[in-house]
């Protein structure tokens, strides 16, 4: 025990007086008056209870509200996902080499022979150094075309859509419809080589 603590325990000068007073017993004259309950305590307790109730209701409201928001967002996410899926489906097959090669070939592009390389350090041509012959080594629209039933489906779908859209004005476009969509002979060039429009 520290010195301070010991000092604290030592009887204070008033102690004898207090003991003397405590020893003096006398009969109780009447019951101690009942203390008036303090209004403040009741108020505090009540307000507390109300506050807790209110807070809980607020929280419940918030979670319920959130639940609706979540449901909303989820359905939004789902519909956006579906939209993305629909767009991806439009791409499926269109980005396949079959489709690209066939389109490129329609534009008059060819798969050429060997490549030559230019060495930057001395400008030398490495390789055979012969130009492309302008004849493709393969014909993507020919009999050897690699199968892709996705493209057939797309073509059928596109044809159906076009037919549906053109139905009202069929009479006017009948001649166009009769012409085969893909011609084997390239169109005649009148204004020089056509150039693709780029951004």
């Amino acid at each position: 025990m520290s010195a301070e603590a010991t000092a604290r325990l030592r009887p204070t000068p008033q102690a004898p007086v207090r003991e003397e007073r405590g020893r003096r017993l006398r009969p109780v004259e009447k019951t101690a008056p009942r203390r008036r309950p303090k209004l403040a305590y009741a108020l505090v307790a009540l307000t507390g209870a109300l506050l807790i109730g209110a807070a809980q209701m607020g929280l419940t409201l918030a979670t319920t509200h959130d639940s609706f928001v979540v449901a909303d967002l989820k359905s939004q996410q789902r519909s956006l996902g579906l939209e993305a899926q629909a767009l991806e489906e439009q791409l499926a097959g269109a980005n396949s080499p079959q489709s690209l090669a066939s389109k490129a070939s329609e534009l008059g592009m060819v798969v050429a022979g060997t490549a030559s390389y230019l060495r930057l350090s001395d400008g030398a041509v490495v390789g055979a150094g012969i130009g492309a012959e302008g004849v493709s080594t393969v014909n993507p629209n020919g009999s050897g075309a690699v199968a892709n039933s996705l493209l057939d489906d797309r073509a059928a779908a596109a044809a159906a859509t076009t037919a549906a859209e053109e139905q009202p004005v069929q009479a006017a476009t009948a001649e166009d419809a009769v012409a085969p969509p893909e011609s084997d002979t390239p169109p005649a060039l009148t204004d020089g080589l056509p150039t693709p429009s780029t951004h």
Partner: protein
């Protein structure tokens, strides 16, 4: 100030408070235990015992298959089957509280436009269905609608046409169609891998389904806190070593060439010399996994891995490597050969062309592809030794790729070789191989005698992003580097001095090749006459080989010899070198080897 009078009540208050707090603490502990610590147990308990809530399965997606550049070759997507409830139509139309936007007469036209039929037809179908059963709740309309069509129907349904119902179902889509179709493979009706990588890598691709349990309020909104979700784990993504663009070109090219030569079928295989990775496996005909039934069932499997044939002259290089590696010969060792010779044991060997007696070098025998000369070179080592070298070059063993239905080919033990096959085995007969094994054998030559096992799978990327690389391929030094160097030099001379030299030339590059012509079994123990399975194998650039290309063609009818494959090989090699930006040859070739002594 503490007095004796005040001490008593205060102590009581303290004790009372302590008791209150102790009880409160007990409640708090229990509350935390119920709500936090073992909440999951209680929830699952309540669901099991009380049968509360709804459990729905969350389907995971089967993983994708991509090529070496990440181009998607196989992916899963959803399609929709649409049906309607005929008896509900009248109920919906007569609903005065919330009438539908369109009555059936108008709605049927709109629905018909989406599913590709006519309004009259649809109305007739529904009328017929109702006549059969006025209470009918089910009329199947169309299966396999795409998302766009589904969204159109969903819009109609949202406008009050409650009798429509669309169910989704997962299907597999192969965006590139038949490109590497036999390698990618396809699924069976139950959605399990049936062939190809789809089957081989089923474990990586398969998803793990999850589940969701929840309770809903009257309006279908999930009651907060009632959800327990086990997430589905999507299948992993398998990356192949293939290059789909190159594969497309080769398939397109070989289909044209095969048709030009009137062949029954044809393949091109491309293997990277320094890694053993298969960069292209092109076949014609090839299955389109989107429409498996559109291809005859005989071509549902890979011809490259499952069709065996006697290689013929392409394996003369193996005989040459055997005797050089055994130290009994080099490229200049000479033998004399006539175009037809009878051997002491009674065997009769013919050359494909008639010629006077030549005094061949080994290089010359390969350039002219003389069967008689190779028979004599083969005699220089014991048959068992030749058998063992054939086995070391992979004959009779499946490649380690593990494709379902792969054939190992046949290699009979040397003790079972008869008088004739004792010699024919020197020039690629009496044993069978696949195109993949042929590519592997020439990869060995091109890689200085070291075989690197073929591989098709690059890696499996799991849904959480963990990349599991395929096992590293095994390396084996099959013949010594010096042996390989001599064989390489001879093969380049075959390309330059052989009969097809002009037709297989790739401008700017030095190449090495060997052709092979195999008789095809007629199914009755003999051979078909006048019709062959032909092949050509080669690699480039000769001075530092990078790619092996094998072209096979079955039973061409225009040019019936291996010459039929020349154009296809030239185009294939050109495209491979261009695709991979291989540096053109700058070192000139060593001086030509003399054919004759």
């Amino acid at each position: 100030m503490t007095t004796r009078a005040t001490r008593g009540p205060r102590r009581r208050t303290v004790v009372a408070l302590a008791v209150v707090f102790a009880v409160l603490a007990a409640f708090v502990v229990r509350l935390v235990d119920i709500q936090v610590v073992s909440a999951d147990d209680h929830v699952s308990d309540s669901l099991e015992v009380g049968n509360l809530g709804t459990t729905t399965a969350i389907a995971g997606n089967r993983g994708s298959i991509v090529d070496a550049d990440g181009t998607v070759l196989a992916a899963s997507t959803l399609v929709y089957d649409v049906q309607l409830s005929p008896s509900l139509i009248a109920v919906v139309d007569e609903n005065e509280k919330s009438p539908p936007s369109y009555l059936w007469t108008e709605a049927s036209d709109k629905i018909a436009a989406v599913i590709g039929t006519t309004g009259e037809q649809l109305r007739a179908d529904v009328a017929a269905n109702l006549e059969e059963n006025p209470e009918s709740q089910y009329l199947f309309l169309k299966s396999g609608l795409n998302t766009e069509q589904y969204l159109q129907l969903k819009e109609l349904k949202d406008e009050g046409l409650a009798y429509l119902a669309m169910k989704s179902r997962s299907v597999r889509v192969y965006p590139n169609g038949a490109v590497a179709g036999t390698m990618v493979g396809f699924l069976n009706g139950a959605g399990e891998g049936q062939y190809g990588v789809e089957r081989m890598m089923g474990e990586c691709l398969a998803p793990t389904d999850g589940s969701q349990t929840y309770r809903t309020g009257k309006d279908g909104v999930v009651i907060p806190g009632s959800e327990t979700t086990t997430d589905a784990v999507d299948g992993g993504t398998v990356q192949l070593t293939l290059n789909s663009d190159l594969n497309w070109y080769l398939q397109q090219m070989v289909a044209e060439e095969a048709q030009r030569q009137g062949a029954a079928s044809a393949t091109v295989t491309v293997v990277e010399v320094k890694t053993g990775k298969i960069r292209a496996a092109a076949e014609w005909p090839s299955v389109d996994p989107n429409n498996v039934d559109g291809t005859p069932s005989g071509y549902w499997t890979s011809q490259i891995f499952s069709k065996t044939f006697e290689p013929g002259s392409t394996f003369k290089a193996v005989t040459a490597a055997t005797i050089i590696d055994q130290g009994v010969a080099d490229w200049s060792t000479g033998v004399t050969a006539e175009s037809r010779e009878f051997f002491p044991n009674g065997a009769e060997i013919n050359d494909p062309f008639s010629h006077p007696q030549y005094s061949y070098t080994l290089a010359g025998a390969l350039i002219d592809s003389s069967n008689v000369a190779l028979s004599k070179y083969g005699e220089m080592v014991a048959p068992e030794v030749r058998h063992d070298y054939l086995a070391k070059f992979g004959v009779g063993q499946k490649t380690p790729i593990g494709l379902y239905g792969e054939e190992p080919g046949t290699l009979h033990p040397a003790s079972e070789w008869d008088n004739q096959s004792l010699y024919t085995t020197t020039f690629g007969q009496h044993f069978t191989i696949t195109a993949a094994q042929l590519a592997s054998a020439y990869q060995t030559f091109a890689n200085d005698g070291e075989r690197i096992d073929l591989s098709l799978i690059e890696s499996c990327t799991q849904a959480d992003g963990t990349v599991v690389e395929a096992d590293a391929p095994e390396h084996e030094q099959v013949v010594s580097e010096s042996t390989a160097a001599q064989v390489q030099r001879m093969l380049e001379n075959v390309a330059v001095q052989g009969g097809l030299s002009e037709r297989i030339e790739v401008p700017g590059y030095r190449i090495a090749t060997k052709t092979g012509t195999a008789q095809t079994p007629d199914g009755h123990g003999g051979y078909k006459s006048g019709i062959f399975d032909v092949s050509i194998v080669g690699y480039a650039p000769a001075e530092d080989p990078e790619y092996v290309v094998v072209v096979t063609m079955d039973e061409p009818t225009k040019l019936r010899t291996s010459a039929a494959t020349a154009t296809a090989f030239q185009k294939a090699m050109t495209q491979v070198l261009k695709t991979y930006r291989v540096k053109p040859s700058t070192e000139p070739m060593d001086e030509l080897l003399p054919k004759f002594k």
